[in-house]
Symmetry: C2
Subunit: 507 residues, 2 copies
């Protein structure tokens, strides 16, 4: 059951946004259009969600790119597939506005996070509509017949329902609405839909650098991520950076009998645990030497924005079933502006009924590190590796040899995962930033402004080659199980997104 006081708080917070939409003519047109085409809009999304979209699944990635090209073509815009060798294609579309003096680029991505289908309540690429969050007992219902309306609290469940196919469909629906209503456009518009964001956008920068004129724009609006936990619109003027590291430590050559060798052969799971514990104190502070060195301080405007953000901690703890938080008593809105070091997963031997009486041969952890402005990915990686050495490990970047294992009591294979982002923060005081705030608020009511999203986005891969600015405009619900099993999009967020993008497309 969803908590009632939480629901009440959320509904109250929605009210101003709904009322405010009336002041922007494009957003008004979008609402009217949407109310007449709900089923058709959802059908486009559902069809797209039915195509598996893990970045390394090339065949299906190309099917996605083709399907999105077809959606663009259906609007009379000539789509392009742009890629570098080995990369997944970017789907590109363009609206040329006569007399326009600037170009806005709307970015989204069509690939999704890797997954294990056994962890999902319904198959991840077989989208279903539910009456509410599955955790609150939401049950599967058929899509309403064309012409009839969706309950706005219903949710579509599928990988990438929220992250990040919904913005693609919402942008195109917003364009349909603007055109149908005859609302004038002022800027040239480009659509850039990437196919390997969840694989850390490894080819994005090279692709943009190789096609600078095609991708040039005065501002990139990054349509990704969730709105605020209160459900109010959020604008993020940047994002934390990212780097990923895999660490494997070693025990006996092969799993060894824990009876015959327990107490004598070192257990790699414990060795790994000790290493991980050495990296953070029990408040959540990272203990890697120099980890926080060189960080750009927040400006006064940014600090004010953080202080003005609603305090959602207590509500969110209830929602996530948390009895404590790291870095308490500091708030989420505050600590999210600092770098983090997170364990994505641990694996060693087997657990529960699958466990054997062994000392496992190895233990692996995958870490992700969120960077803030002033932290270079490579330097941070080096600092983590230095930390591992300081704990007494001999560090290699490939499987250690027998000789190395015999020569070193503690040995770790440390590999940096492909693709890292630098953090980006666009100054909130720039005229174009101020204009974006005004336009968004005219469609969605008072927005929450954050200096940077917690989640990583390849903003540096856009800004570096193109010399442009980026602002993040999310539309998904915060409780969308993004990146995990049972990812979902709340229908009202889809409707809100269409109004939001209609306003931005006409700015």
């Amino acid at each position: 059951m969803i908590d009632k006081s939480l629901l009440r708080a959320l509904l109250l917070s929605l009210a101003p946004a709904i009322a405010a939409a009336q002041t922007n003519p494009a957003a008004q047109a979008a609402r009217t259009w949407r109310q007449q085409h709900e089923r058709a809009i959802v059908d486009e999304l559902v069809a797209l969600l039915g195509i598996p979209n893990i970045a390394r699944d090339r065949d299906n990635i190309l099917r996605n790119a083709d399907a999105i090209s077809a959606l663009i073509e259906r609007r009379g815009l000539a789509p392009k597939l742009v890629s570098v060798p080995g990369g997944n294609p970017i789907v590109f579309g363009e609206i040329k506005t006569p007399g326009a003096t600037r170009t806005l680029v709307f970015y989204a991505h069509y690939d999704g996070q890797p997954l294990d289908p056994r962890e999902w309540k319904s198959p991840p690429f077989d989208p279903v509509l539910r009456t509410g969050p599955v955790e609150a007992g939401g049950t599967i219902v058929p899509l309403p017949a064309p012409g009839s309306r969706f309950d706005p609290e219903w949710r579509i469940y599928a990988r990438s329902a929220a992250d990040d196919k919904a913005p693609i469909v919402a942008l195109l629906a917003a364009f349909d609405a603007i055109r149908a209503a005859g609302v004038a456009m002022k800027s040239n518009i480009k659509f850039v839909f990437e196919g390997e964001e969840e694989a850390t956008s490894i080819n994005l920068e090279r692709t943009l650098a190789a096609n600078k004129a095609l991708f040039a724009g005065d501002l990139w609006l990054m349509c990704d991520g969730p709105v605020h936990q209160t459900r109010r619109q959020l604008i993020a003027f940047g994002a934390r950076g990212f780097t990923g590291i895999d660490i494997t430590v070693y025990g006996p050559r092969a799993d060894a009998h824990s009876g015959h060798y327990g107490n004598w052969a070192p257990n790699p799971a414990l060795t790994l645990a000790r290493l991980l514990v050495s990296m953070k104190d029990d408040k959540g502070r990272v203990l890697v030497d120099h980890f926080y060195d060189g960080i750009d301080p927040l400006t006064a405007t940014e600090q004010r924005a953080i202080a003005a953000a609603p305090d959602v901690d207590a509500t969110l703890m209830k929602e996530l079933w948390l009895g404590s938080t790291d870095n308490a008593p500091r708030k989420l809105a505050d600590v999210i502006n600092e770098p983090s070091l997170n364990i994505r997963g641990l694996a060693s031997g087997h657990v529960g009924n699958e466990a054997s009486n062994v000392i496992p041969a190895s233990a692996t952890a995958t870490l992700d590190i969120r960077l803030v402005k002033g932290m270079a990915p490579r330097l941070t990686q080096t600092r983590v590796i230095d930390h591992i050495r300081k704990q007494g490990f001999f560090v290699v970047d490939r499987e250690p040899t027998k000789e190395e294992r015999l020569a070193h009591g503690k040995i770790a294979k440390v590999t940096v995962r492909p693709g890292s982002y630098e953090a980006v923060r666009t100054p909130m005081d720039l005229p174009i930033a101020q204009e974006v705030i005004r336009v968004v608020e005219s469609a969605r009511g008072p927005a929450i402004l954050v200096p940077a999203m917690g989640g990583g986005l390849p903003l540096d891969s856009v800004e570096r080659p193109l010399g442009t600015r980026t602002i993040v405009i999310p539309m998904a619900n915060h409780d969308d199980n993004q990146h995990g099993p049972d990812e979902n999009l709340r229908i009202q967020n889809l409707w809100d997104g269409i109004e939001l993008f209609a306003a931005l497309l006409t700015m």
Copy 2:
């Protein structure tokens, strides 16, 4: 490549055993018989290994029991299947010797450790013969034609090749040899082949208690485990006890995005790591309060036996690719007589390419604790649970509720795995113990005597209901990958086992 100095050391250590076999007439008869029947003996083993034997796979367990019954029946002995409701059957066979005044019970088990077939080089239930250890490049060869001989360094690869189907086949082959040669037997013999030893013999004690007369014996010889790392025969006068514990700690209700919540939502993998690290110091000493309390000290005879054991540490470190050991500089033969706490496995989220950008919802560790005489399983479990509480955890023994998770910053589900053993040590000075040593040495040369095997065996489940004594007589190679992938039996160990058991069957 196998290390040459190691090979030399091993061959030297084998020499006295081979020479000594000539002094025992039954062992002599067994050698002659075996040399004439190598292929037939291996065929019986291979057929048995072809039947999957995980204890919870009831259909296949019954197929194993039937196959072993058929082997016993083929020897003209009337087999019995004995079980309690819900338990896997014990296969029982009996040889009544006219005029015998004592009964020797030979125990082995036909079930095997759980496994993941993807980790095996060849399918675990499709036995293959290899020219040597697979890790040293041993390649698959066909079985020699009937009448031709096996290279004694070849190995049979399959689950339970070593642990513990080989002793079943070796015992029956030894009986064939004795009977064919007309060597007189002096004792009544019983065969007890259990079907759930690897599931911690959960029904053994109840089954024996319900059939005391059937299972009564003056001594149980437990035919399980590996011989010494030098390949010399080993006799263990007991075994460490065992108890298993699963621990799960919790993060957010469902996997949460590590960008949006990293630094704020606690990471259960780190929480688990911290808990595990609190349990042991970096030398391998267990830090759980009172863990070592109440332990029975070793007798002078036992201490002498430990001191007399060959020092294999350096050789074994090379073989297991270990650059350090726990509790160094103390030796394996010494520390194996102390209790241990081992992590069998860790699981949280996913690692490597399967990892998602999440803070995992939970993290689980499975522990096994090896007990020594004087440690009660239940009291040890309580001490571990007390330790977890002392680290600030609210402890439950089932999934915690939402309310419990909200009320407690740190919460752990701790469950004791079914089946625990108490440790057992039979005094080495008992007349029957001294007689076993003499007989074993007459077949296999100077033996290595250890107060207790490191591995668990259900000795307490035998001694308690029947009031008998137990001695462990292993035959498998120490490097048999017991309990792990690529379990194997070295052919010479099978041949040695037949001679060993022929001697013991005629004592």
